[in-house]
């Protein structure tokens, strides 16, 4: 997966440079842009976790936002309604998402492709309805506001640094997982589940574990969102948001590791800019999606990769 064109050392240096620049951002960027950058990191982390199942696992992960929302609600509820140590609240919330992913995945992985996606969509919507209507517990459509975030990470720059560290660690972990034997077999399942089964792979178990991993990191992103925004609301698990994450993966390049992060950066920035001029953001999104399907089916990074290197990545259609 790491492009072979540059050596390992060069990539490491480049990565460190990006990190240092990001770490310095709060020092010279206006507060709003620091906040926006944190939001991009969170959204990018979320899209990357989606892509573990989507681009690398080939699963039609249509309602990934549910795990995002559950992570956000879990940490908010624990912080508001319990006296548990704060660190514990932050630490356990992603596991709530992972458990939900396990339960939903257990039901969904029996089906394949589109049917998997549709079932996930309906189960996810069920969770959304519960959250949306259960006023006494989740605050209903108002959501939960004024979540008590510890002062160290509640300021704009504090939450940014927290987000940066957690995102980088999470991305690192996902990268390791995708490059492990597990990740490689996952990609084989994406390409050909039937063949994978005949070489001794328990496809459903593999997919279920993938669901849990993807759900967990979506939960992490949800926790980060609460840290930055101080609130959780039902829209976090709406299916339109799921669609937006899907588009980010497609836009950035869903067969690449960093594609979703790039897609998130583009979409979040666009949404912020377009939002100033019009309220029809979804229309703009729809147009982006159409252009994407026609002109960049492999996303921005996928396109660049095909352009600069690996001339032998032609598929059957090219012959």
């Amino acid at each position: 997966m790491p492009p072979d064109g540059l050596s390992r050392l060069k990539w490491f240096t480049l990565g460190m440079a990006v990190l240092i620049v990001l770490a310095l951002c709060p020092q010279f960027l206006p507060r709003f842009f620091t906040y926006l950058l944190a939001l991009i990191l969170i959204t990018g982390l979320m899209a990357t976790s989606l892509n573990v199942a989507l681009g690398f696992g080939g699963m039609y992960q249509f309602h990934h936002a549910v795990f995002y929302g559950v992570g956000a609600y879990s940490v908010s509820l624990m912080l508001i309604k319990t006296n548990l140590p704060i660190a514990l609240c932050f630490f356990t919330a992603p596991f709530a998402s992972a458990v939900l992913a396990l339960v939903m995945g257990f039901i969904c992985v029996r089906l394949s492709k589109l049917y998997f996606g549709m079932l996930q969509l309906s189960l996810g919507s069920l969770v959304w309805v519960v959250v949306y209507r259960w006023y006494s517990f989740t605050g209903g459509d108002d959501g939960l506001h004024g979540v008590p975030i510890p002062s160290l990470i509640s300021s704009v720059s504090g939450s940014f640094y927290f987000t940066l560290i957690v995102s980088v660690v999470s991305l690192g972990l996902m990268y390791v997982i995708l490059n492990s034997p597990f990740g490689q077999i996952l990609q084989a399942i994406r390409d050909n589940p039937e063949r994978s089964e005949t070489i001794g792979v328990h496809v459903r178990a593999h997919q279920l574990v993938t669901q849990v991993i993807a759900g967990f990191f979506a939960g992490v992103a949800g926790v980060l969102f609460v840290t930055v925004e101080g609130s959780a609301f039902p829209d976090l698990m709406s299916w339109t948001l799921s669609l937006e994450f899907l588009i980010m993966c497609l836009l950035g390049g869903w067969f690449t590791f960093l594609g979703p992060m790039l897609g998130a950066a583009i979409i979040v920035s666009l949404r912020t800019m377009v939002g100033v001029y019009t309220e029809y953001w979804t229309t703009v999104l729809a147009i982006i999606l159409m252009l994407l399907i026609f002109f960049l089916p492999e996303g921005v990074i996928g396109y660049l990769e095909g352009f600069f290197k690996r001339p032998d990545v032609s598929t059957e259609e090219d012959r």
């Binding site: 492990s180 597990f182 490689q184 084989a188 390409d191 070489i199 059957e316």
Partner: protein
């Protein structure tokens, strides 16, 4: 080693396999021949666990494997290569085979070790034995048809099977590719000790190379024996060889 007894399989009332019997001894090369639609691929699907039989028994190494999930059958030492090319298109040739080796080594749930460091030697060896070393870094989707058929076999070998099942291994190959594939299969049988079960259209090829041949027709196995016995069989001559 493998014994198929009175196996039956139907799809929506269409009897694809009516009554199939087959014996494969360890170390043999056994071929299944028969006209199109005779039920050869269905039979292989049943043996490899892609389909469950309606009736009958499939005994592999003394245990009934009929209806067992294919990944479990693979873990017992039976590996299959497909008629329609069935590789992992987005992975490189090397990764295609490595995935199979990783699966056999039960590293499927190893989330931490970089896969670059696992099973590399073994994968290289397999690629070398089938003659794909020179293309190991190419995306498998970019290979020629013949190369992909060979890759098919290499993936099956990654599972380190005792019994290798090949569904038309030389279908669509150029004559020179066919010749080298046959050589490869002979090498796998004699040098690596693999038992091979395959089906094929090309009768000349089958008779020149299989130890025993089973003839299928309309879902029924007519006869199984040495190539000579099969050639001499009256029923076969009528049904399949057109009396020639």
């Amino acid at each position: 080693m493998l014994s198929v007894k009175d196996v039956q399989k139907s799809f929506d009332r269409f009897l694809a396999v009516k009554n199939a019997n087959l014996e494969v001894e360890r170390g043999e090369i056994v071929a299944v021949i028969g006209p199109n639609g005779a039920g050869k691929s269905t039979l292989f699907g049943l043996i490899a666990g892609r389909l469950a039989p309606d009736k009958g028994r499939i005994i592999f190494k003394g245990k009934d494997i009929g209806g067992l999930a294919s990944y479990l059958i693979c873990r017992r030492g039976l590996s299959m290569s497909f008629q329609i090319v069935n590789v992992f298109n987005r992975l490189t040739v090397f990764e295609n085979v490595q995935v199979s080796v990783l699966s056999r080594l039960r590293r499927a749930f190893d989330l931490i070790t970089p896969s670059k460091r696992v099973a590399v030697e073994e994968t290289r060896e397999i690629l070398k034995s089938v003659g794909l070393s020179n293309v190991e870094n190419r995306a498998s989707g970019s290979l020629s048809h013949g190369e992909r058929k060979v890759l098919e076999i290499a993936i099956a070998l990654g599972a380190n099977p005792e019994l290798l099942i090949l569904d038309e291994p030389t279908a669509g190959m150029a004559p020179d590719e066919t010749a080298s594939t046959i050589k490869l299969l002979e090498y796998l049988n004699s040098d690596l000790g693999l038992t091979i079960l395959f089906c094929e259209h090309d009768i000349e090829l089958v008779f020149s190379f299989a130890n025993r041949v089973m003839v299928m027709r309309q879902g029924v196995s007519i006869v199984q024996g040495t190539p000579q016995e099969v050639k001499d069989n009256e029923q076969v001559r009528e049904a399949y060889l057109g009396g020639s």
